[in-house]
């Protein structure tokens, strides 16, 4: 997009952020190629902004952009002489519809937009793509982020992200992935891939796995926004609301999780007055929604809803002592049955330690020590160290904390662990 004035550039970015996902989605359904759809959308945006500078912004910029882009799509398809009869019919139909509907574009694009957007969500998170590719493509196409922004967020070179996106689009084209909303059993599998991508983005922001910062709030915001959009697109899916609830409640603690000099502050040491009550309320509301939908359907709570329910137990407690640990243990029990994993088990051990004493917690942790999947996971020795401190086994505790410090890749976290080990005297 070649526009000279930076001021205008920022305005273009803003319009792009708002309109790009819907535009690309509508075009991708039409031309069946997401790379081409993105190019067409960008072209339309450039045309629009030139036109709008003279004639002012139309009443419904989204519809204007869509009409312009679709017209260009048809031109392009014609120019490429790839027009079979079907295309021609489609083109004629589009022209007619647009001429007829010109005064009422608003209504014409109102409804299918949601479906198009959802189609784009499922396309960007398609299992044929690697997780990294899904993340990059989702942030690019649905979050409206530039490759530069994505690169900065994930601390990788911009060229890497750009390449990842190009390759992802090519993979989708080569695999002839259809632009569609999956149904039935397929939907469950595909939806879990979408939720996974969004939560991955959130987690990368919430507890950065690499680098100097402990939190990258922008990524959390991007993930939350994607989650909220998805909740609007799939209002009947309990797990979508469960994920939104989980993210809102976790994000409510961001302010309290970082100390004055950027160091991490752990849950029980956080000043709860700094928790964002607005986000907590939003989270609890989304959780209620998820639980309600499960009740109506007569189904059990899904993994995100269970995790949100756990997060809610903390959010509701005004002081750490008020935490309902027994309920948290019960929720982890359910989560462990649904998605058995050593990490869930480790979390359950923490809850058991709080509800029934450090001895009981340590018993579970000790069964995990030999678990190969946790061999390099810094939180295992960190949790074990905590429980040992409570049991007065200081020497063992210090060793565990130092071991944990040697395993984390995050500098802030490493310092915290070293400090705690040193404080044991």
């Amino acid at each position: 997009m070649a526009v000279a004035v930076p001021e205008t550039n920022r305005a273009i970015d803003a319009v792009w952020r708002i309109e790009s996902a819907r535009l690309i989605a509508g075009l991708a359904r039409m031309v069946g190629d997401v790379a081409l759809a993105e190019d067409l959308a960008q072209d339309a945006l450039v045309v629009a902004l030139e036109r709008w500078r003279e004639s002012g912004v139309p009443e419904n910029p989204g519809a204007w952009l869509m009409a312009t882009a679709k017209r260009r799509a048809i031109d392009l398809l014609r120019r490429r002489k790839r027009l079979d009869r079907k295309h021609e019919e489609l083109g004629r139909e589009m022209d007619e519809r647009q001429e007829r509907a010109a005064p009422d574009l608003d209504a014409a694009i109102d409804d299918p937009v949601g479906d198009d957007l959802l189609g784009l969500v499922f396309l960007a998170c398609h299992p044929v793509l690697s997780t990294e590719a899904r993340v990059a493509l989702t942030l690019r196409l649905l979050g409206g982020l530039t490759t530069e922004e994505i690169a900065r967020a994930f601390l990788v070179p911009e060229a890497t992200v750009a390449q990842r996106i190009v390759r992802a689009k090519r993979t989708l084209a080569e695999a002839h992935v259809p632009f569609e909303i999956p149904r039935g059993a397929d939907l469950t599998v595909r939806l879990s891939s979408v939720l996974e991508v969004i939560y991955l983005v959130f987690n990368e922001g919430y507890s950065a796995t690499a680098g100097d910062d402990w939190l990258r709030p922008e990524l959390c915001e991007d993930a939350l926004r994607l989650g909220r959009i998805l909740a609007g697109l799939m209002p009947e899916e309990p797990e979508v609301h469960g994920l939104v609830a989980l993210m809102e409640i976790q994000a409510s603690r961001s302010r309290a999780r970082v100390g004055p000099s950027g160091e991490p502050v752990l849950l029980f040491d956080q000043n709860r007055a700094m928790w964002d009550q607005l986000l907590i309320r939003r989270g609890l509301k989304a959780l209620e929604r998820a639980e309600g939908l499960c009740r109506t359907a007569g189904g059990a709570l899904g993994p995100y809803t269970l995790q949100a329910a756990i997060a809610a137990c903390h959010a509701r407690a005004r002081t750490p002592e008020e935490t309902d640990w027994e309920r948290i243990v019960a929720l982890y029990d359910a989560l462990g049955q649904l998605t058995p994993s050593p990490i869930v088990e480790l979390n359950r051990a923490v809850a058991v330690g709080m509800a029934f004493g450090p001895e009981a917690g340590l018993e579970i942790v000790d069964t995990l020590v030999a678990e190969p999947a946790l061999g390099n996971y810094h939180l295992l020795p960190s949790v074990r160290g905590d429980l040992l401190i409570k049991l007065g086994r200081v020497e063992e505790a210090r060793k565990e904390l130092l071991h944990a410090a040697s395993l984390t890749r995050n500098k802030r976290e490493r310092k915290l662990l070293m400090d705690r080990a040193a404080a044991l005297g």
């Binding site: 920022r10 305005a11 970015d13 803003a14 319009v15 952020r17 708002i18 912004v57 910029p61 949601g114 409206g144 709030p217 915001e221 939350l224 926004r225 994607l226 989650g227 909220r228 959009i229 609007g232 697109l233 961001s254 302010r255 970082v258 004055p260 029980f268 040491d269 000043n271 709860r272 007055a273 700094m274 607005l278 939003r282 002081t319 750490p320 002592e321």
Partner: protein, 139 residues
Amino acid sequence: MRFMVIVKADKNSEAGVLPDKKILGDMGKFNEELVKAGVMLAGEGLQPSSKGARVRFDGAKRTVIDGPFAESKELVAGFWLWQVKSKEEAIEWLKRAPFGGGTEVELRQVFESEDFGAEFTPELREQEERIRRQIGAKR
């Protein structure tokens, strides 16, 4: 980043006259767009200032002044809280709001914790730590 969008009062809002059906419908649609885009965090309309009050602080003295208040252009009639990526995005959204008739709506960026950096004075930090210690002691 978050922006607060502040809608100022006018004669009608101060008189407690509700907007007509058309405006309410348009506003509803706009709000729906904001929710769908994941931008809307909160939004409320406020009752006229005749139902409000002010508290004036003067040393140890507190004086309560009941509404209504005269300077209707300075009064707030409603607000939104939006989550956006840039000020430009907030402006772009606000341009799409269904207002008319010379209305002026104000956008203000909300402080985030990272903005406090230097302003987070040693005293504040100490206060923080004191609170944290108190919580710790209670445990």
